[in-house]
Symmetry: C2
């Protein structure tokens, strides 16, 4: 254990020797991780820094989990992106609750080791003068050094002044909770370092900064719930299992290292992937759920068999029966989506792909209808 475990997989630990010095203080450190509550899910990628937080907890340090409710309430800093909509207070509070539940699949839920704070607690009290005071600490040039800003500025893309105020909020969170260490993905490096500057300006010992690598999704992109290439930490076991199984073999080392924090098991790649998916589900839902999810995966995806229990769905009146209508009713698709799915060979009856839109009633009654890989109903006559 010790420092090697605390910094496992870390990309930056700054300043050099800083963490060692903090540990020598001989008291529980306050280890900060902040998270915005724009989307309703924390995914496996966000779990990577949470795992470091857990490592600190395991050594007796205090995890200070910051819910960015205020930051979220303000909305997208540029006012352009639809990815960062302004949410209602209720949505934000609900998201915050879900986030916390998800974080607790990784963190130890012990009041001695976990402190949860909402940044509206201190940010809502700041006025114009305070914002100006914060703005005095950092120069525009320094802020534009940030990779993403720098690229956009050089490309002549607009950067709104408000965007410069976001990192300052995150930095002030560190002041408010007197962080000893702040964790984050490598894309957060600048913001975490700004936290050091701001803490210093407020007369506090600046935090140590620890960044973790980004976990890329199976499609090579950053995980995002709006893209749908994410693995939410509290999705249903079958969903988590199936999504994890989508990674190509080439990502096995990365995922085993970052998520399971173990070397890839020897043997077949498929076995290693199944073991990883079991690990992911077991951490969130327990061993039993993991085994059940694996069974479901084997039957539905691997062997193209329907799961053991398939819900019943009553056929509509008429003969022949219009299949897109049935798909729409059974799976909540639009009829045009249903038609497209049939055209792509994504609809099966008892395991065989269907291409016709209208089918004789007797062909359907009692058959298992499958849409895509994982949605099944058994069709029956209404009783």
């Amino acid at each position: 254990m010790g420092i090697a475990e605390l910094t496992r997989n870390a990309v930056d630990v700054l300043p050099e020797g800083g963490l060692e010095a903090k540990l020598r203080l001989g008291r529980p450190l306050r280890v900060k991780l902040g998270i915005d509550v724009t989307s309703p899910d924390i995914h496996l990628g966000r779990g990577i820094p949470l795992q470091r937080m857990r490592a600190f907890q395991d050594e007796g340090h205090k995890a200070v989990f910051i819910v960015g409710d205020y930051t979220t309430r303000i909305g997208d800093p540029s006012g352009r992106s639809s990815e960062r909509p302004i949410l209602s207070d209720e949505e934000i509070d609900a998201n915050a609750q879900v986030y916390l539940e998800q974080a607790k699949t990784i963190l130890r839920d012990d009041p001695e080791l976990l402190e949860v704070r909402y940044n509206g607690e201190w940010l809502s009290k700041l006025g114009y003068a305070d914002v100006v005071g914060l703005g005095r600490i950092v120069t525009v040039a320094r802020m534009l050094e940030r990779d993403d800003f720098d690229k956009r500025y050089r490309a002549g893309e607009p950067i709104s002044i408000s965007e410069l105020l976001y990192p300052l909020m995150q930095a002030y969170d560190s002041v408010a909770i007197e962080a000893d260490v702040e964790l984050g993905g490598t894309d957060q490096l600048y913001n975490l370092l700004a936290g050091r500057e701001v803490m210093q300006a407020f007369g506090l010992e600046p935090q140590v900064v620890l960044t973790t690598p980004l976990l890329l999704s199976w499609d090579g992109g950053k995980m995002s719930s709006s893209v749908g290439n994410n693995v939410p930490l509290t999705a249903a076991p079958e969903e988590m299992f199936g999504r994890t199984m989508r990674i190509p073999d080439s990502q096995l080392v990365e995922w085993w290292t970052l998520v399971a924090e173990q070397p890839v098991p020897e043997g077949e790649a498929m076995e290693a992937k199944l073991a990883l998916a079991r690990f992911v589900v077991a951490r969130s839902h327990g061993e039993e759920a993991a085994r059940a999810a694996e069974g479901y995966f084997e039957r539905t995806v691997r062997d193209r068999k329907p799961p053991e229990e398939v819900p019943e769905h009553a056929l509509p009146a008429g003969d022949p029966v219009h299949l897109p209508g049935v798909l729409a009713e059974a799976f909540g698709l639009s009829t045009s989506e249903a038609r497209r799915l049939i055209g792509q060979g994504g609809v099966r009856l008892d395991g065989d792909a269907v291409s016709a839109l209208d089918l004789p009633r007797e062909r359907l009654a009692g058959a298992v209808l499958q849409a895509g890989k994982r949605r099944f109903v058994r069709l029956n006559e209404a009783t």
Copy 2:
């Protein structure tokens, strides 16, 4: 009168045709001029836009005079300059009172035509979220287009983020008071235009922008109370007169045009300068004070004669008498300043320059001692 008078000496009136359109509204326009209260004086240069404000008043429009108490309370945006110190609330309130008095030497003090507002009224109510909302309206690139920012940014000089927040405050003032027109010096052009953008974002009809030229001081620099090259609008008549007389002949046209808004009178330059000084004093203190100030000027500066009433000062004991000590006591100089003044020929006894540091007592008793151009005491034996 009419639009020619409203825009007299104006450098920019934007957008083109905008003022004409506002005037066609057929209601009194709200004409804004904002002023920070960092220094205790409004000088003659600041009076130039005030004169335009007065022209609007004369046509029945409403002057909305904004005292930037909140802006001032926040202090220097860069946190570097000693010229913009953070003042106490009492100092700010006192300055604001003095400002208003000074402004009223030019403005009409009629509640129908003058509205005085303190920007703390609305700015103190804004929170972090509101500042971010304002910051969303303007891009960093647009802000850095400003002449002064652009130069500093290119030169690699630090610009703090807080500096970008100042123009937004001024712009929001226009929203708060629903300005139709904003006045300012040419150095304010960018800030006034930012006001248009911000008003538009708040769903208001944007203000028309009217800039006036900067009035340069006799030394060719911008007037500044910290440099001492200014003419405060409510300085003592003698002081205002004397300072105005310092301008070189080459500035007569500029000062007559901008300050008196008249052509330079024909005849001798000295006469034109005296008439200008009389105008400046009369506007602040009345005709009688102007005549008295001119008389004082003639006696003390022009004819190097002491004023009619000279305070008495008792000689210290001893013979010979050490002159720097006397100067120090009589005029509050340091002895080294006094020695320097003597070396420069700036000290006279009954009108004759003195170069010796120690003088026989009989040479001093009863004589008029003069330091520089305008400080006099009559020396006498202590009684």
